[in-house]
């Protein structure tokens, strides 16, 4: 974010338009999603995305704590995004900070937009996101993990929620920023897509973009989300597929 007085700004795009890790502008970092790694939780998922490592767990529908948050017509979705103290270079003071609270709020609202909460009145669906290792894009990685965890918990919802951040580096719109690109880039725009409706349920932006750049970023993000969507479905299929049933031997004539 072009911070004032920063020591040195690395070259984010080389002459051939390659990024610092060799990616093209529209290329995602490698992403691996595993559904159901935590047997104690009702649903869980682990996402390794570039150098991010994020675990998500879902509990519920269960009793609402604190009680006064209970709603008579639908389940409440309580989302807690947290970064481990050791997840960043300089130790982060543990506990609730304002950034985490804002991220928890927007992720929770994104899920409330797709979960069929009215099927579980007077209950809570608790979504916990723990960032163990951070390298830019943790809210998107957390959202992806939590979405797979919700599916793993068997919570009915309209769709999975793939998410990705689009940014601007060296004057170009780029998909899925890593840390250096986020720190020294010109803009960051995280988003989450409902693939079936083509609508966005999470959208934030910070930095500088012109109107055409913003339009380009939105379109690139949608393409990125659709690629992530396939990975999410794959992870769930892997978790719940069973070995193909051997064909029954033809009866002896």
């Amino acid at each position: 974010m072009g911070s004032v007085g920063a020591k040195e700004v690395p070259v984010l795009l080389d002459a051939e338009g390659r990024r610092i890790d060799g990616r093209k502008l529209d290329e995602l970092r490698p992403i691996q999603i595993r559904a159901g790694p935590l047997p104690q939780a009702d649903g869980s998922a682990f996402v390794e995305w570039g150098a991010n490592k994020v675990m998500a767990a879902v509990y519920g529908p269960r009793e609402v704590h604190p009680r006064h948050l209970q709603q008579s017509t639908k389940a409440v979705i309580q989302c807690k995004y947290n970064m481990a103290a050791f997840s960043v270079d300089e130790r982060k003071r543990p506990g609730l900070d304002r950034r985490s609270q804002e991220i928890s709020k927007v992720i929770g609202e994104a899920f409330e937009s797709v979960v069929f909460a009215e099927e579980f009145p007077r209950t809570s669906i608790d979504v916990y996101i723990e960032v163990l290792q951070a390298n830019a894009g943790t809210r998107c990685a957390g959202l992806v993990a939590a979405s797979v965890a919700l599916a793993d918990a068997g919570i009915p919802m309209a769709d999975l929620l793939p998410a990705v951040a689009v940014g601007k580096i060296g004057g170009q719109i780029a998909l899925d920023l890593k840390k250096e690109e986020d720190n020294f880039g010109e803009a960051d725009l995280p988003m989450a897509l409902v693939p079936q409706s083509g609508r966005l349920v999470l959208l934030q932006m910070e930095g500088h973009m012109t109107e055409p750049e913003l339009a380009q970023a939105l379109d690139l993000g949608v393409v990125g989300c659709r690629a992530i969507y396939e990975k999410m479905k794959e992870a769930l299929r892997e978790r719940y597929s069973v070995a193909p049933i051997a064909p029954i031997a033809p009866e002896a004539a």
């Binding site: 974010m1 911070s3 004032v4 007085g5 920063a6 304002r98 950034r99 609270q101 804002e102 928890s104 709020k105 927007v106 609202e109 409330e112 937009s113 725009l189 409902v194 409706s197 083509g198 609508r199 966005l200 349920v201 999470l202 959208l203 934030q204 932006m205 910070e206 930095g207 500088h208 973009m209 012109t210 109107e211 913003l214 339009a215 939105l218 379109d219 949608v222």
Partner: protein
């Protein structure tokens, strides 16, 4: 319970009206409520403004103090923005630690000020690495009838653009001088009511809304911040159309912040 029922009826009514492009208070979908900007409202502050958007009222006060620059930005001053949703402004606010809604307002306003490079932070450095100005932007919401974000940022930039650096009082210069403001970000907030997207939502419209979208633009034609909030969704085409509208409103609101009558 009766309150819940009234709310339910009201929300349905708001959505029914919106389907015909109408609103409870008679405005069109692309119309703000009347806006007034009253600069210099608090004389103890180094800069201040009181902004009304309909019955939503925000007062911003700027205070500058000498402090230490952050170790990673030794050549820059420090700017912090905070918005308080104090209990007197609405029956729905309670005393206590800030709720996620208040934190969101605060952070979205801060993001626009920061990303637009509103204040020249380098000019706030006095001695690199040792002494710099710390600029506090505090916004208090006095009335809450929806659209807190737009009111809070409009108050903040109106106050910043008239603020004074109290250099004489702190003994670092012969005289006080005006704070340098480079860019003026303006946030415009929209909500979805059915398939209609309306600007400047009231409290009741926010509660009936299926998604809220805030777009911050500056006078240089840049989008500097965005925030989608509440339960609901926007298509990329909705977002693009909303950004266009935000540029148009932004220009008018920037004029109001500068003291031109709208």
């Amino acid at each position: 319970m009766s309150e819940e029922v009234t709310a339910e009826i009201l929300h349905t009514h708001i959505l029914d009206l919106a389907a015909d492009g109408r609103r409870l208070d008679g405005r069109g979908p692309d119309e703000y409520r009347p806006i007034t900007v009253e600069p210099g409202f608090v004389t103890t502050a180094d800069g201040s403004a009181l902004v009304r958007i309909g019955e939503t009222i925000a007062v911003a006060g700027i205070k500058l103090e000498l402090g230490k620059p952050f170790p990673d930005t030794p050549n820059a001053g420090v700017l912090t923005t905070n918005a308080e949703l104090i209990p007197l402004s609405s029956p729905t606010f309670e005393p206590g630690p800030p709720q996620p809604g208040a934190i969101e307002v605060s952070r979205v306003v801060d993001r626009a000020i920061r990303a637009a490079e509103t204040v020249d932070l380098a000019a706030l450095c006095v001695t690199p690495g040792e002494k710099s100005w710390v600029c506090y932007v505090d916004v208090h919401m006095l009335g809450h009838d929806g659209n807190l974000i737009d009111a809070a940022l409009l108050a903040a930039v109106s106050a910043l653009s008239r603020a004074t650096v109290p250099a004489k009082r702190f003994g670092v210069a012969e005289a006080d001088y005006p704070l340098q403001v480079h860019h003026v970000p303006i946030e415009c907030t929209f909500v979805r009511l059915g398939e209609t997207i309306v600007v400047d939502p009231t409290f009741d419209e926010e509660h009936a809304a299926q998604g809220r979208l805030t777009v911050a633009t500056d006078e240089a034609g840049r989008v500097v911040a965005m925030q989608k909030g509440l339960i609901g969704a926007f298509s990329p085409e909705d977002v693009k159309a909303t950004v266009r509208r935000a540029f148009v409103h932004g220009e008018r609101l920037r004029g109001l912040a500068a003291g031109r009558s709208g």
